[in-house]
């Protein structure tokens, strides 16, 4: 069966066998950003966006994405042109092993799209499907807030990241 979707802004098509899961499809095709933490929908490390909403791709049939727009972490920003969230996660020290980070960033992106200046409780709620075992979440809350501010100030575009972040 032919599966067509918009993946990170590009029209793509895949031949799929049937009950293939989106996570497997993505990883088999070299989109390694989505991670496999549990394969049960419990951790969010496999999260990608489908039509702007974060979903766990480990429990989402690839076929369900037919005709939809899928965004993976690779589509959020690149090392050359990172998204404000990607920048602030690094600056704030919110990235440790990185396993949870792609999924968490996509959840954070969804939040900021809907709610440009989130309160603490909003951030906690938006990220509660993304388990992180390394950080204790403190720096991640901070990173989301700093990114929100930066996006609002419109400074993130073309801005040269300061070396070492604020504390330097």
């Amino acid at each position: 069966m032919k599966l067509e979707m918009k993946l990170n802004g590009k029209d793509v098509s895949f031949e799929i066998a049937g009950p293939e899961l989106l996570l497997d499809l993505l990883r088999d095709n070299g989109y390694f950003g989505a991670k496999r933490g549990c394969d049960n929908g419990d951790c969010g490390s496999c999260a990608v966006q489908v039509d702007g909403k974060s979903i766990c791709s480990c429990i989402y049939f690839a076929g369900q994405a037919h005709g939809r727009e899928v965004t993976t972490i690779e589509g959020l920003g690149t090392m050359e042109h990172p998204h404000a969230l990607q920048e602030t996660f690094v600056e704030c020290g919110a990235v440790q092993c990185g396993s949870c980070i792609p999924g968490m960033l996509l959840s954070a992106k969804e939040l900021l799209d809907e709610c440009p200046s989130p309160k603490d409780a909003d951030i906690r709620e938006a990220l509660d499907g993304n388990l992180c075992r390394c950080t204790g979440y403190t720096k991640q809350f901070e990173a989301v807030k700093v990114a929100a501010k930066r996006i609002i100030e419109g400074k993130s575009k073309g801005r040269k990241p300061a070396r070492g972040g604020k504390s330097r």
């Binding site: 549990c38 049960n40 920048e87 390394c134 204790g136 809350f141």
Partner: protein, 772 residues
């Protein structure tokens, strides 16, 4: 000439952070290897059984199945899966595949197939005839005369007493006339539970053959060099035929200080001559990987009316599960990283690690100190209360101080006698003061507040850990200069997400007067990088950091020598700064010019340094933790409202990363204290192997955590640094227990402090009061 620190003690960005945040970072599974087979292990459904027969005929018929291995196919080599230095202090009681199973989840057979589906179906089609044996499911009775013997095989080595299911035993006693001078004696028992590390990336290993027919193992490990050695040992192949590559690792916390699946994956690759991959499912990770040793801790102490602690007598029964991996050393740390914190003239310690037919204990951040600190800090609180003394005051009066030693350092090491040392840096008093102020101790402690059934309280715990294993651990590093004045830093040190690549690059950059971004870090690969014991025992910054510093200093000396010749100036007082050599007379040269000169122009040679480091001390970091909790007396629910961790890790090479280590450890500790527990049915089958049922804290559960770094200078560490990664996981359990007491007047000594346990304790107390 002492220059101010430029790169060290700065919160520079994690050098691999952006590649992780953009999905570029490559973990084990983030490469495609052509022709890769999927491996799957058949797990035992029984806690204790002999394998009488394995019939693989049906499984072999499944299309796509390439290879099935059972114990009959592999050399029988007793070894340990503990990723420790040679000779490992853990018993050799494991076999890659065995004819006996010793816990639910133990491995019976291994399959390699063209697809994951075929591998899974094949595993289910293997027919095993078991002779089911009575399991040992209670650590306290594992040593009973009539307990079944778990390791009755003839060939295992260095088990303390297989007849008694005793994997390891250690003890010491210093002082005399125990408890004779004490006015009060305390005698308490503490119990801790089964818990798992839960790295978001489960264990995953690949193996294939290179063009020289050598086995290449790409694996998520904290110990690549130990993995190489142990694979070679277990499969009887020469070390030189094995290469272990550690790419990005998705978290370890000690779980990956284990050479768990590298042997079996390499065996499948050898048998099929194809690339093979094995990735644990979450349930396999929880049950079949490693856990934190559950312990029964009996702590007695003696106290004088004037506030002097006279005696400690610590007796530990540690449940090591089916195999004795890390059994001795984790148990040692329960004493050695806890007892020295407070002065006492008489100190006794005894630890027995027993086998049971339950999941296997292993290395887990905190490494035994976590369990010991729970007992110690709760008892310290009780002792202070008896004297009606502020718990902070009591701790300050009794804790070890700068320049002091403890007989425990010498008496107890890791698996052998320890090393005498005295404290050369200690910021504990300041940690206590700053943490107390932050939590509002003076206003809150002893004055329980709250409305109706909701009670509030604050608690404290003080902690110490170590920094590497003295006399045993070694780390090495090589640094070489490139044409543009950048450097390659090649290290065996193993970044498992902690940020050690960044921290070590900062140390090298500081020596060389450049930015950490001008250092290209490669860690770790047994073919390419020098040796390092790996990431454990809180050693990387302290130990490998010193190796990096020494290697960078060699390169610096060579640079100065070349620059001196180029400028015909004596480089004696020259410095390296901002990518330049600056001579005492003010003349300058860029590192690029020096590099080009040394590589191409005259007396050509490679500017490079290579150095190893061992340590003869293990300076403890210190910490004071505080928390405020809310206890609902109607439901038993305990909620941590806020948490403060004040930590003395010497110089924080990267303060932000040090805070991150602290916060991550704290939340893991809180989750462990309140909810995490693997539960079993009466046959020893785990009931909550997935995250749906094994709860770990998420963003909604996490309290605000505040880290306060208290700088001190450790003379034996690089730029004054000590360790930071492990210590803070030890705090939450006692800290929360003490806060619960402050809130509702009940001391919980059995973890985790679930709503059920709190409610039960409240009901028991109410019944007791009614009886009075």
């Amino acid at each position: 000439m002492k220059q101010p620190l430029v790169t060290v003690n700065k919160s520079v960005r994690k050098i691999d952070g952006l590649s992780m945040a953009t999905g570029r970072a490559q973990y084990v599974d983030d490469v495609h290897v052509r022709g890769m087979l999927w491996a799957k292990l058949l797990a035992s459904p029984h806690a204790h059984a002999k394998i009488l027969d394995i019939d693989i005929s049906q499984a072999q018929k499944i299309p796509g199945v390439v290879c099935i291995l059972t114990h009959k196919d592999l050399p029988r080599v007793p070894h340990t899966t503990a990723g420790q230095g040679y000779p490992e202090p853990s018993p050799y009681d494991s076999y890659v595949l065995d004819k006996k199973v010793r816990f639910v989840g133990d491995r019976v057979a291994a399959v390699a197939a063209e697809t994951r589906d075929a591998a899974e179906r094949a595993v289910r089609a293997i027919k095993v005839t078991y002779e089911i044996l009575t399991p040992v499911l209670d650590a306290e009775h594992a040593m009973d005369d009539d307990a079944p013997k778990i390791h009755d095989e003839e060939d295992s080595l260095r088990i303390a007493d297989p007849e008694k299911n005793l994997a390891a035993e250690v003890g010491f006693s210093v002082g005399k006339n125990f408890f004779e001078d004490s006015d009060y004696i305390f005698d308490r028992t503490f119990v801790t539970q089964y818990a798992q590390h839960c790295p978001i990336e489960p264990h995953i290993t690949m193996a294939w053959f290179d063009e020289q027919d050598r086995i290449v193992i790409r694996t998520s490990t904290q110990v690549p060099f130990h993995a190489r050695r142990i694979v070679a040992q277990a499969l009887r192949v020469p070390v030189k035929r094995v290469r272990v590559i550690k790419p990005r690792v998705g978290g370890g916390f000690g779980a990956k200080q284990e050479v768990l699946n590298e042997q079996i994956v390499a065996a499948l690759a050898l048998a099929t001559h194809r690339p093979v991959k094995l990735e644990y499912t979450r349930a396999e990770e929880t049950i079949s990987a490693r856990t934190r040793h559950p312990m029964i801790i009996h702590l007695r102490s003696g106290l004088k009316k004037d506030g002097t602690i006279t005696d400690f007598d610590l007796d530990v029964i540690s449940n090591t599960g089916a195999y004795g991996t890390h059994a001795l050393t984790v148990g040692c740390n329960t004493g050695s990283k806890v007892l020295p914190l407070y002065r006492a003239k008489n100190v006794k310690f005894n630890m027995r690690a027993v086998y049971t037919n339950m999941p296997v204990g292993g290395a887990y951040r905190g490494y035994g100190a976590t369990q010991g600190a729970f007992a110690m800090e709760c008892l310290i609180d009780e002792m202070a209360e008896r004297l009606a003394m502020d718990p902070l005051e009591f701790r300050k009066r009794n804790h070890i101080r700068l320049g002091e030693s403890s007989p425990v350092f010498k008496a107890l090491g890791e698996g052998r006698e320890g090393v005498a040392q005295s404290i050369e840096s200690c910021g504990l008093d300041q940690c206590i003061d700053l943490g107390a102020r932050e939590i509002g101790w003076r206003e809150k402690h002893g004055k329980p507040k709250g409305k109706g059934p909701i009670k509030r309280g604050v608690g404290v715990a003080c902690l110490m850990q170590g920094s590497s294993i003295p006399g045993i651990d070694m780390g090495a590093a090589t640094i070489k200069m490139n044409e543009d004045g950048s450097f390659n830093l090649l290290m065996g040190a193993t970044d498992l997400g902690t940020g050690s690549d960044t921290v070590l690059a900062q140390i090298a950059a500081e020596v060389l007067g450049i930015r950490e971004s001008d250092i290209v870090v490669y860690s770790s690969d047994t073919d390419m990088t020098p040796f390092d014991v790996g990431a454990y025992a809180s050693s990387t910054t302290f130990l490998s950091g010193m190796a990096v510093k020494k290697a960078a200093e060699q390169a610096r000396d060579q640079i100065l020598h070349v620059a001196g010749k180029m400028l015909e100036t004596d480089p004696a007082d020259a410095i390296l700064q901002d990518g330049m050599v600056v001579m005492a007379n003010g003349r300058r040269l860029s590192l690029k010019e020096v590099a080009l000169h040394s590589l191409y122009i005259l007396d050509q040679f490679q500017i490079m340094g290579s150095s190893s480091h061992i340590t003869h001390t293990s300076p403890p970091p210190f910490a004071a933790h505080f928390c405020e909790v809310e206890v609902d007396e109607e439901t038993g629910q305990v909620t941590v409202l806020s948490y403060v961790a004040a930590v003395d890790c010497g110089t924080a090479i990267n303060p932000r990363l040090a805070e991150g280590q602290t916060e991550g450890a704290v939340l893991n500790g809180i989750s462990y204290a309140l909810v995490e527990e693997i539960c079993f049915d009466p046959k020893g089958r785990p009931r909550n192997a997935t995250w749906q049922y094994y709860k770990i804290f998420n963003t909604q559960d996490a309290p605000p955590i505040k880290t306060i770094l208290v700088p001190t200078w450790e003379p034996t560490g690089p730029y004054g640094a000590k360790s930071v990664s492990e210590i803070s996981i030890n705090g939450p359990m006692p800290c929360i227990a003490n806060a619960i007491y402050d809130a509702i007047g009940i001391r919980l000594r059995e973890a985790p402090f679930t709503a059920e346990k709190v409610l039960k304790a409240l009901k028991l107390r109410a019944r007791g009061r009614r009886m009075e």
